[in-house]
C-alpha cells in the first residue's frame, strides 16, 4: 500500500511542477505585445521635420535604433506634403513595423507645415 501511495504522490508532484506554468501564457501575451513600440513609431512619424526626405539620415537612424533596442524592423516613407483646400499642410506617411510576432503596415495622414 505504501508503494501505491508513493507512486501517486510522485504523479501529483509532477502535476505540482506544472502549476507554475499556469498564467504564463496570458502574462506573456500581455507583456510581450509591442504596444508601446508601435505607438512610439507613430508618434515619431507624426513629428518628422517637414523637409524630411529619404536621404536625411533620420530614416536610417530609426532603422538602426529600432533594430538595436526592440529587435524590430521599422521603416517609413513620407510623401511630400500638400495643402488641403483649407490651407492646412498634410502628407501621407506609410510605416512598417515587424518584430517577428507582430507585423504592422499602415498609412497615416500627418499634419505638416505647408
Amino acid at each position: 500500500m505504501g508503494f501505491v501511495v508513493s507512486a501517486f504522490i510522485l504523479a501529483s508532484a509532477i502535476m505540482v511542477t506544472q502549476v507554475g506554468f499556469v498564467g504564463q501564457t496570458a502574462v506573456e501575451g500581455a507583456l510581450l505585445f509591442p504596444k508601446e513600440q508601435i505607438r512610439d513609431v507613430r508618434a515619431l512619424v507624426g513629428s518628422l521635420p517637414p523637409e524630411d526626405s529619404d536621404n536625411s539620415g533620420i530614416r536610417e537612424d530609426v532603422r538602426i535604433l529600432a533594430l538595436a533596442r526592440w529587435n524590430a524592423v521599422v521603416d517609413y516613407r513620407a510623401d511630400a506634403s500638400r495643402s488641403t483646400s483649407q490651407g492646412y499642410g498634410i502628407r501621407r506617411v506609410s510605416l512598417f513595423y515587424e518584430d517577428g510576432s507582430v507585423t504592422c503596415e499602415e498609412v497615416l495622414n500627418v499634419a505638416a507645415d505647408s
Partner: protein
Amino acid sequence: MLQQIRDKESAVSSMLEYTIITAFMMVLFLTVTVASDEVFLTGPSEILRSQEYLDVANSVSVRVVDLAVLAPEEGMIECRFDLPGRVGVRPYSELIVPDTEENSIRIEVSDGEITSRAYLSGIGGSVFVPEMMSGPGIISISYPEESDD
C-alpha cells in the same frame, strides 16, 4: 484433560488474530486503491487543466484586445503567437464565438471534457470578430481580417 486443551488454545487465537487483521488491512488497501486515483490524480489534473485552458483563452483574448486597440485606420496589423502544444497529454481546441446575448465575444478552450471560457473585455460590442476555430501551435490573427479575394 481440560487443562491441556486450555493450554493449546493459543494456536486458534493467533490464527484468528491473523485473519481479522489481514481482512481489515485488505479492506483499507482496497479503499485506498480505489479512492487514490480520484484524490491524487483526477481531481488535481482537472483543476490544472481548467486553469491552463483559461490561461490560453485569456492569452488569445489579450492579443485580440491589443490588436483592436492598435488597429490602424488604413493598413493592416497581424500578430502571430505560439500556444502550448498540449495541456497535460491532451490536445485542445480554441473556439471564438460572437455571443449575441452577452453582446460580447466568447473564447472557449476545450478538450471535449473540460471547457474554459473567457470574454473579450470591453471591445466585444464594437469589434466584429468572425467565428473561428483553431488548435494549438502558431496562431495568426490579423486586423482587418484577411479576405480570400
